[in-house]
Symmetry: C2
Subunit: 203 residues, 2 copies
């Protein structure tokens, strides 16, 4: 059983997708610990409702990163829980050396665009403003750059002529909730290997 | 009947796709003139075989752009042929003010990626090296930036685990040959309008 740790900042709908797949027996993994940088994150309630250990850990004074001390505390908490794979699920801070060194090649993120298009914040809105006909979502390994790591899975979402940011994001979320558990499953089944900067999925 | 001009540098398979759609009566346009910056371009033979006026025009001394004099000559030739819409079809030079000013908002390009991912050369190889799961092609209006103009149509092509640059490019070409004539048809039917930087297709 792969032990996974999940990092959240808010609603935690991708956490819920992981919980649901584990509960349904379709994902051979155990969610060992959920950590939040926001004491009010609704995802903490989702974890509690599923009897998963979950808590707020103070992030430090900066808004976009964890302080080095906080990052060490997050890494320690995951290590003590036996976590082998860390999943960012709407975590709103950039991961730095403290966690990257503790879980090398073992931190996943899901991003609401077809990377490398539209890295950064509000990617669905960037896509709508740019005028692309297709966008989507990407599960990738986290490395030091923002949204640049090796891609595990992607899904395509057509942009409709009458889309608003909200309608488009809703359709992207549906695909996220499908491919994020699928990507974790690939790790649980040891089916991902790196070939240079490319992640290759084996049968 | 929309009069179109086509710019080529080589094989001209997208020119052939336009010729075939016009001949089949599915594209209400006339290819009025084909210009090439390369006297050996096979596309010149394709045009001749379809009885379309076509010729080599000297591009000037630089490799990546037309000289200002050459660009004026290209613009004049298209204007004299009554061209209303210019289609770049594998034209290997960056378009500058001479043609942009002569055909404002009336120059189309097709690019072998899902822009804004992978602008520039060998986009299919860039996509393969990056490790994306989906790439594709994009028809867009040409403006002063490289591969940055408003998007008219896109098509998605999955990247297969065993793809080589050649197998991937072949599948992208098939989609190009489908959406480039379709994009020209939208112009022939006056169904494209600009909303800021976005191209909106009307019914």
């Amino acid at each position: 059983m792969l032990k996974i740790g999940v990092l959240i900042s808010g609603n935690g709908s991708n956490l819920q997708a992981l919980i649901d797949e584990v509960k349904a027996g379709r994902l051979p993994a155990e969610i060992a610990l959920v950590l939040s940088d926001n004491p009010e994150a609704y995802g903490l309630k989702r974890a509690a409702a599923a009897a998963i250990p979950a808590r707020f850990l103070p992030p430090g004074p900066k808004r976009t990163v964890l302080s080095p001390e906080a990052e060490a505390a997050y890494a320690d908490a995951f290590k003590q829980a036996g976590v082998e794979l860390v999943c960012l699920a709407g975590f709103m801070r950039v991961i730095k050396a403290g966690l990257l060194a503790a879980f090398p090649g073992r931190i996943l993120n899901i991003h609401p665009s077809l990377l490398p298009s539209f890295p950064g914040l509000a990617a669905w809105k960037q896509a709508l403003d740019y005028g692309v006909r297709y966008t989507g979502c990407t599960v990738h390994l986290v490395e030091a750059g923002v949204d640049t790591g090796p891609i595990i899975l992607q899904a395509v979402v057509p942009v409709e002529a009458n889309d608003t940011p909200e309608t488009l994001l809703n359709r992207i979320h549906r695909e996220e909730h499908r491919i994020y558990p699928e990507a974790v499953r690939l790790f649980a089944e040891s089916r991902v290997r790196l070939d240079g900067r490319r992640a290759v999925v084996t049968d």
